[in-house]
Every structure is written in structure tokens, then in C-alpha cells.
Symmetry: C2
DNA sequence: TTTCCAATGTGATCATTATCACTGACCAGG
DNA sequence: CCTGGTCAGTGATAATGATCACATTGGAAA
């Protein structure tokens, strides 16, 4: 997909500007794109693949916050880059992923010169903030069964595939739970005919 | 406190601009400043008092996200105002509170004309995003005892008073827990000489 | 085919927190 | 100085999820 197709709201001039100064970078599945505590000097626009964004505690436990998909930007990288601050999160490529890195120097310039960039930045903040709020909702108000359902639905939604290719352990890690709990809940959902369990794959039926 | 004292980073011209066009509004303790689902047409700068920001689920349960104190702005109001969208949170005055409402029309203008406003907005996003992340940390990784400790420390920190004038029920509501659990945990902390319990008041010793 | 390992299934038990039921303590207004 | 109502203390029990221990299964590599 071209930049123009991924970011149709951008003016042609803006596309040219970021094409000229942005640096394309690719990541393989599992590769770390941003590490907790790392200093950020560029904003990241996702072109291909997808990125999982995690919060990590000091014992190394992880907790999935959200995904970033093509046509989206990483709000954390924007904020950190603009303030030359360390990131508080970890970002990992889930698939083969291609991103465009926009140096912070260019950011200020784009903000001033391109209304569509400015609106894009605002919209990115807004949607990430909302997603973060819904994460809080989930862990504050919901039990694991509902959180698991939310997780699976989001996966299907994001990937467009009904086959969820994850082990129970991976799901448990993302939800900061344990494999046994996830296995049992999945089994219950299978009995309710909402999905079918396979090895390393869950078939979502809805 | 004057605007100049509360927002020392603002240029004099900027101060004049927001003084001229901003509308001051006062709220009494417990008064709702922003309701879930409400449309936002202004950004809010806090001048006096303090605001509690909650997330609410559809059963009416509440969960305290953070406080906004004098010299700070409400990031949600910024984002919502700029996008003419409904808010996803609830804001309540805790004390007698005075705020300055900046109409959204002025926002764009200030962004373009005043570098210090632009930086202030970015900084507001960043700090709220970080606070939201630390909320996620707390509920994802910590038990109630640690969350209670964090809550009490933040209260002491923010208010500058060692006497926490809250009932156990209020604390339980903010943490989406139950009174009995909070009472028992507080009792335990009292036995550890970290605080003293009184009626409607907790004396913090540290 | 056999073997081995990761993925999954399952019962038992523990830890944390929620909920229920009730008691006592404090305090403001009559 | 009563007294009703809010606030706090406490035991019992339930619900949820974490953890442990071990069995089973499926598929890839030897």
C-alpha cells in the first residue's frame, strides 16, 4: 500500500515531505521496536504488519495495552519524541512490519505547516487515550471471562481472520493471567459453541 | 494566585489572550464539572481547588483515575473540544474549585501563535497518558494493599495535608473495592504504625 | 515409526477480595 | 442526655483467579 492509500487524509505536499525525510524500517515477528526506558527520537507511522504495545512491570510481567495497525501512528512515540523523554512502554512487531520513522525535528515543522498533520496527531492522541481508558475499564470492572472475550474479539477484528493463531500461554501472558485459567475459560466458551479449540489455534464463530 | 503565577511558562501575550477570552467558572465540592457522554466545547484550566477525574461503568460504579490541580489542564477536555466529541469520563470538584474555560475556537489560534501553549498542550497529554499508564500498572499488577498505599500517598502528596479526611467507604468507592476490605487493610497499616485511624480521618505518618 | 517436547486438560488447594450479617462507637439534633 | 443515623470493626462464607501437580495429546524431528 502506498502512503497516499494508508493516509488518505494527508495533503499531497505532506506526503511528499514525510516521504522525503522519513526513514523506512522493517521488523520481523517478535522483534522489539521500542523498549521500556528507551529514548525516542522519532515518531512511528505503521505501513505494514502490526505492533503490539505492552506495559511491563519491574518483574518482567507484561500486559497488552493495544495494537497499532497500518495507517496509524504511535502516540507514545509522538509524545516522547517531542519531549525527548524515555518511553514507558514496550512495542513488539507481531508480524513482518514496516514503519516510517519521522524525525522529531520534522514533527514541529509539520505541525505548523500542515493542518491535516495537526489533526492526525490530535486524533491519534484521542484514540489512544480512549483505548487506554477502555483497558482501565476492562481490568477495573470486568472478570477474566469478559476480558478474554474482549481480547479475542479485538484480535479477530484487527486481523480480519477468524482463526486466532495463539497458544493459551500467549493469551494468558497478554492478559497477565495464567494458562490454566485461560484454558478453562476457553473450554467453557467452546461448550457454549462460541468457538472451537485446536492446537495453537482458536476458531472464532460469530 | 494569578494566571501568571499558575502558568509561569506562558508568555505575557498568551496570558492576556486567555484572560480576555476565557470564562471563569466556580464549582462547589461534589459538583459535577464534566459528565460521561457530555459534549465538550471548552478546554479547562484549573485555577483553584482540585478536580477528581473518574471512569464510570454502566452500572454506575466509579473508579478514580487522577486529580487535576491548579496550574494543570484537563487533557480530555482538550481532546474532546478539538474534535467536538463526547467525553468518556466524569469530573467532579473535590473542593471549592475555580476553572478557566478556553473556548475551542481559541484553542487552534493559540496552538498556531504561541509556542508555549503548544508545549503546554503536549506536556499535558504526556503527563495524563503517563498517569493513565500508572493506573493500568496499579490495577494490573498490584494487590489492594499496594493500591491503597498508592492512593493514600497520592492524596497526602496532592493535598499537602497529613490528615486524610475521607471515610473508608469513599476510599473503597474510588478504588472500586468494598468498605470492609479497606477497613481491614487500614487496620493492618495502623498496626504497622504507618497511620492512625480516626472517625472520617486518617492520620498519615511518614 | 518412534520419540520427544510443547500445548493442553484437569483436579486440588491456596490467596485475595467480595459479600453478608451483625455489633459497637461516635456525634449531631431534638 | 437520649437517640437515630452514619461510620467503623469483625467473623463467616462465597467467588474468582493463581498455583501446583500431573496426565494426555498432537505433531515435528530423528
Amino acid at each position: 500500500m502506498t502512503l497516499k492509500e494508508l493516509f488518505p487524509q494527508f495533503e499531497t505536499e505532506l506526503i511528499l515531505a514525510i516521504e522525503k525525510e522519513g526513514v523506512t524500517k522493517t521488523f520481523t515477528p517478535g522483534e522489539v521496536i521500542m523498549r521500556t526506558g528507551q529514548f525516542i527520537k522519532s515518531t512511528i507511522l505503521v505501513l505494514k504488519g502490526n505492533i503490539k504495545v505492552y506495559r511491563q512491570n519491574n518483574e518482567g510481567e507484561e500486559f497488552l495495552i493495544y495494537y497499532i495497525t497500518p495507517g496509524q501512528a504511535c502516540a507514545v512515540s509522538m509524545i516522547c519524541a517531542m519531549q525527548a523523554q524515555a518511553s514507558e512502554i514496550m512495542a513488539i512487531a507481531e508480524e513482518d512490519t514496516e514503519v516510517l520513522m519521522i524525525p522529531v525535528r520534522l514533527m514541529d515543522e509539520l505541525m505548523v505547516n500542515y493542518k491535516s498533520w495537526y489533526h492526525f496527531v490530535i486524533k491519534t492522541y484521542r484514540s489512544r487515550f480512549d483505548e487506554l481508558l477502555s483497558v482501565v475499564d476492562n481490568i477495573a470492572f470486568r472478570n477474566m471471562d469478559e476480558r478474554l472475550e474482549f481480547y479475542l474479539k479485538r484480535y479477530v477484528d484487527k486481523s480480519g481472520k477468524k482463526n486466532i493463531e495463539l497458544s493459551h500461554q500467549q493469551i494468558a501472558d497478554d492478559l497477565n493471567s495464567s494458562r490454566e485459567v485461560i484454558s478453562r475459560l476457553l473450554k467453557k466458551m467452546e461448550q457454549q459453541k462460541r468457538l472451537t479449540l485446536h492446537r495453537n489455534m482458536i476458531e472464532w464463530k460469530e
